[in-house]
């Protein structure tokens, strides 16, 4: 393993220290327990949005803390969910009195830890809601699994909900919006190479010189299929059609009910994409794939969407939800409505997403 790190065990902390030194105007970092929060937190009267998850996906989530996006992010060890005490401490720090939304990617670890944090926050009198992102169409047979993983749509949900919170949406409104973004977003990724977790020091999985993994997860979880390397156009075609041809996705998720003061099971169904839909197209690098290649993917993606009568009205292209040094990409398509477009365009000022301010 060759990486720009010191001791593998110090990887997450030292990276946070660098962030804190680099962006004192935007964020502050608490180290024990670890969380990154807006320099101006708490913002009184505003719903606070907190996300978090294992480290190794930078800039998500730390790089999205700031005006118009997250109030705090809780980084775990590499690819390991953060812990409830981080989430609770972050909630206390950024609570502006209007409640907290936890945006949670659907992995067993993240879900369980955020659930514990929600219970703890509730027991301490902090209002918290909890929305899952489960958008990875690579996961089939979700009835027999943990369900779909949370991937690219998370970034989009954080931006859109962050703008909504900034504009004064209530806790319930932000949560409902977040659920809607999740339901309208679908993603799938692929890997050209494995990532290498610093503490392990060797690649998580082996791919031959001419092999790729379609449907990869952001922790190097295996995908749908290991195949021979294909052209960018073929890869893009397969990924895009997996999203477009995906049938409505039905599942039951556990959400915290503020009134019943308990967990309730909620059945959710993704709508499918239809001709004429307006989309946000997000082409993401897994970390080691350069921008030039992402544009080649975007080129084909735009062509396919066009052929299907889908209109890309916004896009995001770059490394936003990565898997350490993995080479590969993911595609997320989010069906937009006017409200989402307005919120997407709203000002955002974070270390790694910034516009209109």
């Amino acid at each position: 393993m060759k990486k720009l790190i010191n001791k593998p065990l110090d990887f997450v902390r030292e990276s946070l220290e660098g962030m804190a030194l680099a962006h004192p105007d935007l964020i502050h970092v608490n180290y024990d327990p670890a969380f990154v929060y807006r320099a101006d937190a708490p913002v009184h009267g505003k719903v606070a949005i907190i996300s978090g998850g294992g480290s190794g996906h930078e800039p998500m989530h730390n790089g999205f803390v700031g005006m118009g996006m997250l109030d705090a992010a809780c980084p775990g060890e590499v690819f390991t969910s953060p812990t409830p005490d981080q989430m609770l401490a972050a909630a206390k720090k950024v609570d502006g009195g209007a409640g907290i939304l936890y945006i949670v990617k659907n992995y067993s670890g993240d879900v369980m830890n955020f659930e514990m944090a929600t219970e703890l926050a509730f027991s301490e009198g902090i209002r918290v809601l909890n929305i899952l992102v489960d958008d990875d169409v690579a996961v089939k047979d979700s009835l027999y699994t943990q369900g779909r993983r949370g991937v690219g749509t998370t970034v989009l949900a954080e931006k859109i909900c962050g703008a909504a919170a900034e504009q004064g949406y209530s806790l319930q409104q932000v949560a409902d919006l977040c659920r809607r973004v999740n339901l309208n977003g679908r993603s799938i990724g692929m890997a050209l190479t494995s990532c290498t977790v610093p503490a392990k020091g060797t690649p998580t999985f082996e791919l031959g010189d001419r092999e790729i993994e379609m449907g990869i997860g952001i922790h190097g979880e295996p995908g749908r299929e290991r195949t021979n390397i294909k052209s960018a156009d073929e890869i893009t075609q397969i990924l895009t059609l997996s999203i477009l041809e995906d049938s409505p996705y039905k599942r039951v998720v556990r959400e915290w009910d503020e009134h019943k003061q308990e967990w309730v099971d909620v059945e959710l169904i993704d709508p499918v994409f239809n001709k004429g839909d307006r989309l946000l197209a997000f082409v993401n690098s897994m970390g080691g794939t350069p921008l030039s290649e992402l544009y080649i993917v975007y080129r084909k993606l735009a062509e396919i969407c066009d052929q299907h009568g889908l209109q890309i009205v916004r896009n995001l292209i770059g490394p936003y939800i990565t898997s350490l040094d993995m080479q590969g990409c993911s595609i997320t398509l989010l069906k937009l409505d006017d409200e989402m477009i307005r919120l997407w365009d709203a000002p955002v000022k974070t270390a790694n997403l910034r516009w209109s301010i």
Binding site: E77, S81, P84, S108, G109, Q146
Partner: protein
Amino acid sequence: MRKEQILQWLQTFTDEIERHKDYLTELDAAIGDADHGINMDRGFKKVMSQLPTVADKDIGSILKTVSMTLISSVGGASGPLYGTFFLRASTAVGLKQELTAEDMRGMLQAGLDGVLVRGKAQIGDKTMVDVLSPAVAAFDLAITEGKQIQEAMQQAVASAQEGMKNTIPMLAKKGRASYLGERSVGHQDPGATSCYLMLKSLLASLC
């Protein structure tokens, strides 16, 4: 089971985890994300550094400290699961300084229940539940049959080992391994393996 034995159990388990750290991580690399050994090792090292502060307290307090330390230092799936196991176990035994067979039965059952509620896994899903559940049942049965703690625990560990082996042919339905589908078959579950080590350590501390 005396408090010293409880402490001994935690020490032995910590040592076992350290010894099997790479092995557990390798198991997790095959069907997960290659961190289970690292996670457990980090958590129990932290537990060991915390225990001296509560070693003179009751068993419930000790287990509560274990729980809180795991919850705040392990993360991932195993953090809340082991954390919940010890939290419920702690509540079950309360202020006691020594546990009867009945107490232990209650403790293990409570821990198992906590894991089930938290993780929603069922038997056959290829998780730690496949070790914990048959082991607790075996202990339960043995105690009901009037066996001594040590013997009951021997049977529990035998069931645990069997349960661990049984995870090999299973198709994972919970946790990261579930994403593998058919490809999860043929690998032993890492959480089931650490759970077996936990029970084996418990048995060792009784001898």
